[in-house]
Assembly symmetry: C2
Homo-oligomer: 411 residues x 2
C-alpha cells in the first residue's frame, strides 16, 4: 500500500555529469535481488552528509563520519557503496572491521584509497554483515557503472519499500542550468531526527569549500528531518548531497544570488523525496500534513507536531477515516508545553474548523469532519495562539498492514 506515490520512469531521471552508478546482486539476505550499489564521483567533486543521532549508530555511519572528517587528507571522497539486507548495526568491533573491509575492497577495484569511500548499510540490526558476499559482488557493481543507472540504483537500496523512490529537477541560474537527481529509501523506523534511512542527491553544481556541509544540514532539516512514520530513529539514517561541479554554475558563497536558487531547488527535491518515504510508509493509507502555527518557538511547534504524528490513537483513527479528533487535542495536551493555555488553541481538519478556543467549535458538524477524513491526503492545522513560530511535519496513518509488515519483516 502507498499514498499517491509516483512510480519513477527511467527517462525522467536525469544523469548528472561526473556521477556514475553500478549495481549487483550479492545475495546478502535473499537471492536474485539488487542489493549492492556503488556510486562514483569524478575528481574535484564534493560530498557532504548528515547522519543518525542514534547512539547505537551503525558501523558504516561511524566510518562515513570519519572519512568525511578527514576528507582530502588521503584524497577527496570519490565513491560510495550501499548494501541492503543487513544494517551492520549492533555488530561491535567486527562490524567496524567489515565496514572498513568493504571500503578497502572497493578502493582496490577503483584504484583509490579506502578513506575516499563512504559505506552505507540498511536492513536487519544485530546480525553480522556477510562480508564475503559483498566483497565478491563488488567487481560486478563496478563493471556496471554508468551515468544512466538511477532507476537501478533506486531499486538496489529498497528494503520494505513498495517501489523505488527517485526524482530529478533542473533549475536556471544566472550562470546556467543546474541539474539534480536524488534517490531515497525507507518505510519504517522513520523519525525526524535525521529521518531518512538513506537519501542521496547528486548535482552538477559546484560549491566553494565548506558551503555544501551547511547547505546539506539546512536541506535535511526542511525535508528528511520533517517526516516521521513510527517514531523509531534508525541506527543507519544517512542523507548525502554530492556535487560534481561539472556544470558552469559555481557557487562561491551564501551571498551569491545563485546560492538561494540552488538551495531552494535542493530543498524542493529533498522534500519531494522525503514525502515519498511517508507516502510509502509501512502500511500507509493516508498522508497527513501536520502544520503547527502560533507557537512561541519552532521547537515547541515541533513537540506538538511530533506528539500528534506519533500518537497511535490518532494514527489508527485516520486509518479508520474516523474523525475522532479529541485524540488530537489529547496529544497536544501531553506534548510537553507546560504553560499551554488550551483556551487559545484552534484546530482545523482540512478546511473544517473543529476546535475553537480549546473546545468543540459550536458550528462543527461531524459530517464535515467525515468528509475530509475520506481524502487520502489530509492537513491537520493547529494554532497554539501564543506566538509566531511554526513547524510542519509529514506522517502517515497506522494500519493493519504496518503490524503485518513489522511482525513478518524477518520471516
Amino acid at each position: 500500500m502507498s499514498v499517491n506515490l509516483p512510480l519513477p520512469q527511467k527517462s525522467d531521471l536525469k544523469p548528472i555529469s561526473g556521477f556514475e552508478m553500478g549495481i549487483a546482486q550479492a545475495g546478502i539476505k535473499k537471492a536474485n535481488r539488487k542489493d549492492l550499489l556503488v556510486m562514483t564521483l569524478a575528481p574535484g567533486s564534493q560530498v557532504a552528509g548528515v547522519f543518525t543521532l542514534n547512539r547505537f549508530c551503525a558501523a558504516p555511519v561511524q566510518v562515513c563520519r570519519e572519512h568525511l572528517a578527514q576528507d582530502g587528507r588521503h584524497g577527496e571522497i570519490r565513491a560510495l557503496v550501499v548494501n541492503t539486507g543487513n544494517a551492520n548495526a549492533g555488530t561491535g568491533e567486527q562490524g567496524m572491521q567489515h565496514a572498513l573491509e568493504t571500503c578497502a575492497a572497493l578502493a582496490k577495484d577503483l584504484k583509490l584509497n579506502p578513506e575516499q569511500i563512504l559505506p552505507f548499510s540498511t536492513g536487519v540490526i544485530l546480525e553480522p554483515l556477510p562480508i564475503g558476499k559483498i566483497v565478491s559482488a563488488l567487481p560486478k557493481a563496478v563493471a556496471h557503472l554508468g551515468e544512466d543507472n538511477w532507476l537501478d540504483a533506486a531499486e538496489a537500496i529498497m528494503t520494505t519499500d513498495t517501489q523505488p523512490k527517485a526524482c530529478s529537477a533542473t533549475v536556471q541560474t544566472s550562470a546556467g542550468l543546474v541539474t539534480m537527481t536524488g534517490i531515497c529509501k525507507g518505510a519504517g523506523m522513520i523519525h525526524p531526527n535525521m529521518a531518512t534511512m538513506l537519501g542521496f542527491i547528486a548535482t552538477d553544481a559546484g560549491f566553494a569549500p565548506g558551503l555544501l556541509t551547511a547547505l546539506t544540514r539546512e536541506v535535511a532539516d526542511q525535508s528528511f528531518n520533517a517526516i516521521t512514520i513510527d517514531g523509531d530513529t534508525s541506527t543507519n539514517d544517512s542523507f548525502i548531497i554530492m556535487a560534481t561541479g561539472k556544470s558552469p554554475v559555481q557557487i562561491t558563497s551564501t551571498a551569491d544570488a545563485n546560492y538561494a536558487i540552488v538551495c531552494d531547488a535542493l530543498i524542493a527535491i529533498a522534500k519531494k523525496l522525503a514525502q515519498m518515504i511517508v507516502r510509502d510508509g509501512e502500511g500507509a493509507t493516508k498522508l497527513m500534513t501536520i502544520e503547527v502555527i502560533g507557537g512561541k518557538t519552532v521547537e515547541e511547534c515541533r513537540l506538538v507536531a511530533k506528539a500528534i504524528a506519533h500518537s497511535p490513537l490518532v494514527k489508527t483513527a485516520f486509518f479508520a477515516s474516523d474523525p475522532n479528533l479529541g485524540r488530537i487535542l489529547a496529544a497536544i495536551g501531553y506534548a510537553g508545553i507546560l504553560d499551554l493555555d488550551v483556551g487559545k488553541v484552534q484546530m482545523w481538519l482540512g478546511d473544517v474548523w473543529v476546535a475553537k478556543d480549546g473546545g468543540r467549535n459550536p458550528s462543527y458538524q461531524e459530517a464535515d469532519g467525515q468528509r475530509v477524513m475520506q481524502e487520502s491526503e489530509i492537513t491537520i492545522k493547529i494554532d497554539l495562539g501564543r506566538g509566531t513560530a511554526s513547524q510542519t511535519l509529514w506522517t502517515c496513518d497506522l494500519s493493519h498492514d504496518y503490524v503485518s509488515i513489522n511482525a513478518d519483516y524477518r520471516s
Copy 2:
C-alpha cells in the same frame, strides 16, 4: 484478548467499612450497560488523588483538583461519581458547567455540599456530556448503594476493557488488621505520566492529616506511573486513595512502623491493579517487563525503558514472537542519553544474554531468543553500565487487534 488477566470473583473483593458503592444504567453512550457509579465515604474519611498532567485535562479533573484543594472548607470529601461513555474533555466552559451540575445533583440526593463530591468521566473526547441522562440516573445509583458492590463498580467503569479489574488485600499491623480493595479501568491511551485512566483504592486504615496525599503520589509512581500501552497520556487519568479510618489502625506519621507496612501493601495492590491494565492492554498478547539497571539516574533509566516500551517496531516484533532484538538496541540508542557508551550496554531477553558490550553476544543463539519469545510474560533487562540507578516499566505488544479496536472505537 488479554494476558493472564485474573477474573475477579465477588467473594474475593472485601468490603471496606465506611465505604459504599451504587451503580446505574444511564444510557450515556449505549443502552443497557452499567455506566454510572456513585461511591460514598463515611464522615471522617480522607481522600487523596493524583491526576493527568495532560494540559487538555478534562473538566471533571479540574473540578476534582479544586474540590480536593479546598477539602474541608465546605465539609470533607464524602462522595465520588464516575461516568463512562464520555470523557467530558475538550468541552470548554460547557464541560465545566456539566461537571459542576453533576456534583450539585448528587449533593442534593446525598444531602451534602457540591464541594464534597469528586466527579470523574472516561470515554470519547470532544463531545458534550449528556448531562440530562446522568442527572436522571443518579438517584438510581444512590438507591443501590452498598458495601458489597465492588464487582458492579469495577464493571461500571469499563470502556474498552475486556473484563473488570479489581483486587483486595489485608495486612497485619501492630495495631490490627488493615483491609484494602481497589478497582481500575483502562486499556488504551495509557502512558506513564499518571498512567491509569481511572483507579480507586479504598482502605479502612486511618491517616494523620496530610499523610495520605504524599503516600498516594508514592504509590502512583511505583504502579500506575510505571505502565504504558501506547504512549498516549489521557486527558482524564485519575488515581484516588480513600481511607475511611474505620479499622483500629491509625497511622500518625511516616515514622510510625505501621506506615511502611500499609504503604507497602498499598503499593503491592496498586501494582497488581496497574499490571491488570497492561494485561488487558488493547489487543495485548504479551506482558513485557522492561527492567533498566546500571543508569546514572532513575530518569535516564526511565527514558530508555520508555523508548523501548513505546517503539512500535519492538512491540510488533514481540507480537510476532520474533527475536528481532536489534530493534531494542536502536530504541536504547535514540532514547536521549547523549553520552551513552554503547560498548558498555548489555541486554538480556528472559535468561538469555543477547547483547554483550554493545554487540551481539558471541554465544547468543537465535533458538534461545526464539524460546523466550514464545512465553506470554517476558522480561527485557538492560544494563547501561554507567551507574547504580534502575527503573522498571510494564507494557504490552502491538497487535492487529490494537489497530482494530482503535480504528473501530466509536463505531
